[in-house]
Symmetry: C2
Subunit: 411 residues, 2 copies
DNA sequence: ACTATTTTTTTGAGGCTCGAAAAAAAGCCT
DNA sequence: AGGCTTTTTTTCGAGCCTCAAAAAAATAGT
């Protein structure tokens, strides 16, 4: 159960601290690193000398913009872009994209592709994913040997060890152990990440001020997903990627959800649910996929005049509000980011959402709960996958010969 | 944010490991400790020599029952009961109890008292608590100087730092910083713990097989409370003690809850809610406290014949089931312990609960979810407080002069 | 040119854990 | 009884790691 700390773990961990401090801060000096890590200057000096010698960090003397101060000028440390590279794969509805990112976080190659995920058989779906990755890895412009990690992101449920896709709305196929498949094919360590978790990871990197230790990313799209960060750590369920906010029960025995059950939050707030409600289709009708353009048109109509469209968004807001209220009852209120096509219609959703949340125990200070919106989820997922893969590399390069311990660290 | 590991932290942490290994295992030999902690024999030998020399551990050669084996016999290590003592205070409805526990976990003194918590003014309530603690501390039979920690448990909401009671159903008084008050009065470090969290801590010690890394303790009493352990750690909200399972929304706009809102799980499953429903009282009626005897009588009547009483328990089960389903959607299913007077009526609750949970996403494998019942919550709360205080002491004695870091470790 | 200031590196000391070997404490066997 | 085997515990030297203090480096101000 509880494991003691070995003497050699100490250096490994402190190396990790230094690398992650550099990744977070951009171009910190040794002195800055010493301040943020709490380690002594001598330790930081020794470790960074090692890391520079190993080609993981570089001294970037180009730190011109620093204010002219007395004393010996600080030397900024930066990640060496050539130290490694990672590859991200994002599989979403009818769309597959990969990117190669250098160790400093810059995209150095990209490829995207349309495909009919909903009707593709299992082997073909896996084959397309492998093929696009192989094309990128075999690109002559790229030093193949340097790709140290693959992170794949997908909408749906993954297992809590980030190894396999268990279920996804974008395909009828279930239980694909993508991480194992990728590792076997390319002999590169890989993980299979949940899309909403990656959104949360990306938000944390984009705006660490706002999204620090506790926050929630909610995907408002065909389905409703959630990525949750608690105490600075990505929260996953005990078995699965967890956080199935969209399938909390809003009204027992209520509207039919895509998951086959009744009364889930998603059955009121997913795109299909809003559409169904706006069009006067029965709540018992089977969910259908609505295109983004249709949803935008629906939102426009709802803004134009009061009517069933506006009412549909109101009901979505109510479901989300009561759901958030229940969630906040469990974890206390936290900042929320609304992501996805329906986040662009958040103006239509927010009033009813706030009204509902105010009726719950978790919403006691509902006015202080702040929402942010981001209509486009794909870039976030890609960024999240990239950062996750890079932070994994951070923990492998500095740890030569460590015993594999479940990498549950923050990304 | 992220702090490096100092060189001296190393020994401190490994001392902690050894102490907690002994506390968990009872009388482990040095070899056993080395195995569970992963540290080398020499390290364990050095640390335990220190701890014995400091009077924290003792060698217990009385380990007769060990099977006769070849080789040098193992020497069991045990906690020295006289190394320290802790004091627990449990304040519940109309009832106040304290206990003094030695370092090995044995109760060495107790006192209990009835008092009208519902009508006592603030000062009197605090005064009674201080008085009973003072009596125990001044007991001539007790070595006062050795009480190293006080843990107080109370039903209701506490802050996430375990310093203050924010709100409790047992008194109209709010926001009592009990931890500070006790510390100022007795100059002994103190914490203010939530009752359900302590139930969870106690269950973990009572049955580590079943309640290990992920489980849920639910209090079925006047109100509905929850203690949640995730990944081996007690889960609290970000601001408050959190886990307000009873105030998740079951039916938006539904029955009146004690918290003043509508539709909470508690408004269907709390004692008053079951009573209200069984007696045909309106769902809008103000909640009233029902005695345990009345509840037992109600359960007996419900078992006797089908009628409004049985229906009331059915509805409670439904509310709990949908609530658990929503909870499981977020954290994945885990073992559940039902505690409190209504846990004795769990036979009446379980069928509807299972039926409801099966209709939720979190209840996919509802048959595999297991429930355990324990009708009496007070002993659990006391045990939990004791173990929490003792593990705090474990981390103070071994850490002479450590920088205070939020003790968020498991108890 | 010289001093003040700040950052970085070097150096020596002290601690910690580890592995190997030794010591200790039994039971087993002849 | 005495030697042998087995297992646990202790001892000891080696190798690291971090820290504090001193030295070195680099620049601004005078």
């Amino acid at each position: 159960m509880s494991v003691g700390i070995r003497h050699d773990d100490l250096r490994r961990r402190n190396r990790a601290m230094v690398i992650s401090a550099v990744r977070r801060a951009g171009q910190p000096s040794r002195t800055e690193i010493a301040a943020t890590t709490g380690l002594s200057h001598s330790t930081i000096s020794a470790i960074s000398a090692d890391l520079i010698q190993e080609g993981i960090l570089t001294e970037s003397k180009a730190s011109e913009p620093t204010a002219l101060k007395r004393g010996r000028p600080q030397i900024g440390l930066a990640l060496n872009p050539e130290a490694a590279a990672v590859l991200t794969v994002v599989l979403s509805l009818n769309f597959l994209s990969v990117a190669v990112i250098d160790y400093a976080g810059q995209v150095i190659a990209e490829e995207q592709q349309r495909l009919d995920t909903l009707v593709m058989p299992r082997d073909e779906l896996i084959g397309e994913c492998l093929a696009i990755v192989r094309r990128r890895l075999q690109d002559p412009d790229l030093d193949v040997g340097s790709v140290a990690r693959i992170a794949m992101g997908i909408q749906g449920i993954t297992d809590s060890h980030a190894r396999a896709m268990l279920w996804s709305p974008i395909t009828p196929v279930t239980d694909i152990p993508f991480a194992d498949i990728l590792e076997r094919e390319f002999e590169i360590p890989a993980t299979m990440e949940n899309d909403c978790n990656m959104m949360a990871v990306a938000l944390r990197w984009r705006d660490p001020e706002r999204y620090r230790d506790n926050f929630i990313a909610i995907l408002l799209s065909h389905g409703i997903g959630m990525g949750l960060v608690l105490k600075g750590e990505l929260f996953t369920g005990t078995h699965s990627s967890g956080g199935e906010f969209g399938h909390m029960i809003h009204r027992p025995g209520g509207a039919l959800c895509r998951c086959g059950r009744r009364g889930c939050v998603e059955a009121y707030a997913g795109n299909y649910a809003i559409w169904r409600s706006a069009m006067g289709i029965s709540e018992d009708a089977a969910p259908i996929d609505i295109g983004d353009a249709d949803m935008r048109a629906l939102a426009a109509k709802a803004r134009e005049k009061d009517g069933p469209e506006r009412e549909a968004y109101r009901r979505a807001g109510e479901a989300l509000g009561f759901g958030l209220g229940s969630l906040f009852a469990l974890i206390d209120p936290a900042p929320v980011a609304m992501v996805g096509v329906s986040a662009a219609a958040f103006d239509l959703i927010e009033p009813a959402l706030r009204e509902a949340i105010a009726q719950t125990a978790g919403g006691q200070h509902s006015n202080s709960i702040s929402f942010d919106t981001e209509p486009n989820e794909l870039p976030l997922i890609r960024e999240g996958c990239a950062m996750r893969a890079l932070t994994f590399v951070d923990q492998e390069i500095f740890a030569p010969g460590m015993q594999a311990r479940a990498g549950k660290d923050v990304a």
